[in-house]
């Protein structure tokens, strides 16, 4: 029986290559109206008045909604995913540039925009806090005066690890290296912006939402809680999604405004944000000001790691991560190394910047942790005059140490780290690259070789430890086998390009001896799929994929009973072989799932207590996270005359356990590597001191094109996950998490002859040039 796993073309591509996908903005309903949002031009200002009379008089305008309108319905504020509140439409003051102030519903999208111009808002400007490092100064402007008892811009203090043990390790160390570094504010910028079509049926009271949502079920529950609607009267359809990357996890004010717009007008209301709205107001990522310290012996044994982080969460704490972890999983920051002790502390603050924080393939802040440790290891290598590959090899967790419990409490499930690093070094031709570098340096040419080794913990998560707003991070799967032996699988997670319709069909097909073509995967519709928390944090395969497999195995076990009845044998006498149940020792006596399915729907006499038909459901509670890892090597050429960096090669060896569809896995890695090049070299959302967002369009927020990306060189090792039903681990964010450090390490490697020790991302030509002149720049803040 041929395995259903392996590279196969994706089922979803048939519609996409024909231009027949259905994205949210493609939905058009009879009588549909269009919404647009008036946003604040100021970063911090009191609202004196909002005059909507002229807008309401516009002949094509059907409704104008302000904070006051919403306040009457107790909808002016909504809870965030971090148990803060966020203004839906501002009532008291605006707290970041681009904040939502009013919502117009009109007959067409152009008229809605016209009407925004007719709204007159009087603002009283307030002092602006755009510099996170000043947030806790006594004279810093107070941003969240709406919160009772809030006297400053402090959100939380949080720590992990053993402080005393770490101090002791540092006290005894031969060498300590320290470095301040910024992981600057970035934005996932999916090519499709966020949007919604809200349709409240005036008769049945049913609210149907077509929405760019990575988590339709969680959203349904939140809408029920927010709007006071009964949850069974809410249906969320998350159609084709043009990329998510975490940007489409939260509920945004525009969504709620569209719902209210539909309530007020009795018509469907579409709201789709434009690119500037997406970049300026929806969930950003990173913005971590980090201080790292690493301790080691003189001969290169890493002993301990410390980090102190100032986390800029913007004007509302809308960061999306499991409740117990305000800094996400940052505290896995010891990475892939066997250390004696580690300690980190994180302080979160408010600023007059857009809210968000965990929104860009970061695996709940592991991106920041990996960047910190991989920069620190490189700095340590320089201090010890050791090769960074050798230093890493010497300190990687060894294969025999798994399962390995790290100094901050994570239990790494499986790995053979040295094998992955050796493969990467071999693929890159590392020794030859170092020789080439030495020769070039001798004649004044500058290339850099950068390494990173990352480990992630993905697939949140075990319900004992992880929830979001009290909802456990478990996912359901429902599998029905039709009488003729084809199957429908309903899953709770939602593809945004990851190819679930294909991979999940392969998972079920493999368990039941079917062809993937015979398994239809239903997702993205809360009326047709079981509850679960959705797709983010690389959790689809680890959690939802596991649920699909468990459901399929339940079906297979029921099929065994049916097959036994068909063959007049005892179930225990049957064995599953070659995609069918057969009598042990008599392979002639066997039944396929298709044959069994027909019998299960027939008048066949079944044992007492055994239901007819052939279906099963399950909810999967993962026993642990899965721990994918990888070894990356980046080679860059630096033009010392301009500071321009060219990524010449990128070698990426990933181990994500068993690969169900290697073609799709490799595609996920490719995309993440481009993210790494982008973040390292060009992507940044900077603010000026007046709180103006300087990354508000694709003219200013630069993303890598086909010219900045090299032809990726991939390698793989396979170390199965010991607790996932098929040994798979998550992979969707691996390369985004792991690759920025390799690029930055490569640039810093090239800059060593210039005496540069560190410069913050993004390493644009201008920033590299400044660093070469001994004047590294702050990339989070610009002069007004």
């Amino acid at each position: 029986m041929k395995s259903a796993y392996g590279s196969m073309r994706r089922k979803e591509d048939a519609r996409f290559v024909r231009g027949l996908g259905t994205f949210t903005d493609d939905v058009a309903l009879p009588g549909m109206l269009h919404g647009a949002i008036l946003r604040s031009p100021l970063a911090h200002a009191r609202i004196i008045s909002v005059d909507t009379a002229a807008a309401e008089a516009h002949p094509k305008v059907r409704a104008v909604i302000t904070g006051e309108t919403l306040e009457r319905r107790k909808l002016a504020w909504m809870p965030t995913l971090s148990r803060d509140v966020q203004a839906v439409l501002a009532t008291d003051k605006v707290r970041f540039q681009g904040q939502e102030v009013a919502f117009v519903v009109a007959e067409d999208a152009y008229a809605a925009r016209d009407a925004l111009e007719l709204i007159d808002v009087e603002y009283e400007p307030l002092p602006v806090l755009a510099d996170a490092t000043r947030a806790l100064d006594p004279d810093a402007p107070l941003i969240r005066d709406d919160l009772a008892g809030q006297r400053d811009n402090h959100i939380f203090d949080w720590s992990a690890g053993d402080q005393a043990a770490t101090d002791a390790v540092f006290a005894a160390a031969d060498v300590i290296v320290t470095q301040d570094m910024l992981y600057p504010r970035s934005h996932p910028a999916p090519l499709e912006t966020c949007g919604i079509v809200a349709d409240l049926d005036q008769v049945s009271g049913k609210l149907t939402l077509w929405s760019t949502s990575q988590a339709p079920h969680a959203h349904r529950t939140l809408y029920a809680l927010l709007a006071g609607l009964p949850e069974h009267k809410i249906r969320i359809i998350s159609p084709d999604i043009g990329g998510g990357f975490g940007n489409k996890v939260p509920i945004y004010p525009g969504y709620l405004c569209a719902v209210v717009g539909s309530m007020l007008t009795g018509k469907p209301v579409k709201w789709v944000e434009d690119r500037s709205e997406n970049l300026m107001s929806t969930a950003f990522a990173r913005d971590y000001h980090m201080h790292g310290e690493i301790a080691a012996t003189r001969d290169g044994r890493i002993l301990g790691l410390r980090a102190r982080v100032l986390a800029d969460h913007g004007a509302f704490n809308g960061s999306a991560q499991p409740t117990k972890f305000p800094a996400g999983f940052f505290h896995i920051f010891t990475g892939s190394y066997d250390l004696r002790a580690a300690y980190c502390e994180v302080t979160g603050v408010y600023t007059n910047k857009a809210p968000g924080g965990v929104a860009y393939s970061c695996s709940f802040r592991i991106a920041e942790g990996v960047y910190l440790v991989e920069r620190m290891v490189d700095l340590l290598a320089a201090e010890l005059a050791m090769d960074p590959a050798e230093l890493r090899m010497q300190n990687l967790i060894r294969p025999e140490q798994f399962p390995y419990t790290g100094p901050t409490g994570w239990e790494y499930d499986s790995g053979d780290y040295p094998r992955a690093l050796r493969l990467a070094l071999d693929m890159a031709g590392y020794d030859a690259l170092r020789r080439e570098q030495a020769e070039k340096r001798a004649r004044g040419e500058h290339m850099g070789i950068g390494l990173s080794f990352f480990t992630e913990g993905v697939g949140a998560g075990p319900r004992k430890h992880m929830d979001i707003l009290g909802l456990s991070m478990n996912d359901g799967a429902d599998l029905r086998v039709h009488p003729t032996g084809t199957a429908v699988l309903g899953i709770s997670c939602q593809t945004q390009g990851q190819g679930h319709e294909t991979t999940f069909a392969q998972l079920v097909a493999e368990e039941l001896g079917l062809s993937p073509d015979d398994v239809e995967v239903v997702h993205g519709d809360t009326d047709r799929t079981p509850f679960g928390l959705g797709t983010y944090g690389s959790r689809s395969t680890p959690v939802s994929g596991a649920a699909a497999v468990v459901a399929a195995r339940k079906v297979r076990e029921r099929a065994r009973i049916v097959a036994a009845a068909m063959l007049e044998a005892a179930p225990d006498d049957l064995e599953w072989d070659g995609g069918r149940w057969q009598v042990r020792g008599d392979p002639e006596q066997g039944r396929t799932i298709a044959e069994i399915a027909l019998a299960a729907h027939s008048g066949l006499d079944l044992p007492d207590g055994v239901d007819g038909h052939l279906d099963a459901g399950t909810v999967y509670n993962p026993p642990n996270l899965t721990y994918p890892y990888g070894a990356y090597i980046c080679v860059i050429d630096l033009d010392p005359g301009t500071g321009e960096v060219l990524v010449r090669r990128f070698v990426a060896v990933d181990d994500c356990g068993v690969r169900i569809n290697p073609m799709i896995v490799e595609g996920q890695v490719h995309g993440g590597l481009a993210d790494g090049v982008g973040m390292a070299l060009m992507q940044v959302i900077t603010y000026d001191t007046d709180g103006n967002c300087l990354g508000g369009s694709f003219m200013d927020y630069l993303l890598p094109t086909s010219l900045e990306c090299p032809s990726w060189e991939l390698g793989e090792t396979v170390t199965p996950c010991p607790h996932h039903p098929v040994g798979a681990k998550g992979v969707g964010e691996s390369a985004t998490v792991g690759s920025p450090a390799a690029v930055v390490n490569a640039v810093m490697d090239a800059l060593r002859p210039f005496g540069v020790r560190h410069a913050d991302m993004p390493l644009t030509p201008a920033n590299v040039w400044s660093a070469m002149q001994g004047r590294p720049v702050r990339t989070d803040l610009a002069a007004s």
Binding site: S3, Y5, S7, M8, R9, R10, E12, D13, A14, F16, V17, R18, G19, L20, G21, T22, F23, D25, D26, A28, Y110, P188, A189, L191, E192, T193, D240, I241, G242, G243, R275, R419, L423, G497, V653, V658, R659, P662, M663, I664, E666, G667, H670, G671, L673, A674, F698, M699, L703, T705, S706, L707, C709, S711, L714, G715, E716, T717, V718, T719
Partner: protein
Amino acid sequence: MQITVTVNGTSYTRDVEARLLLIHFLRDELRLTGSHWGCDTSNCGACVVWLDGTPVKSCTVLAAMADGRQVRTVEGLAAAGQLDPVQRGFAECHGLQCGFCTPGMMMTARWLLDHNPAPTPAEIREALSGQLCRCTGYENIVRSVLWAAALVRGDDPPGPPAVRRLGGSPPAAGPPSPAKPEGAA
């Protein structure tokens, strides 16, 4: 104002506002939603269509400017129910993930192959450099266009990408040969 635009061979006459953008004319007036809108600044290329045989970013072209002219969109790529080699190449080589940039990428790729039947990877990257993809890291898009170019020329398509494997996962089948029937559905 009244305009008449021929889109994928069909003539459409509509009364439109003078300021209406071509992308909105296609999507909202004609309900051809295969072309997407991704930015307002001509940076992303999700809206690329052909205007009189040349790729343009339809978010920065007025519908009125297309009056009396020929527009070709992704919906007009397939001919007589047969997918264009570029469409087949993208499906064969995993040249798309979310599918949002794909129509624009394919329109530019088709134009490239009409003008350069044997492009190098560097020429493909240059041709597509005005368009953004957030999912694929471009590598498989380049492979898709190479695959399509080989099919158009009647050459053997490029083999599967070389991935160095250590360990026990099943070997990748790689993109199948174009001799097989289109079966992505």
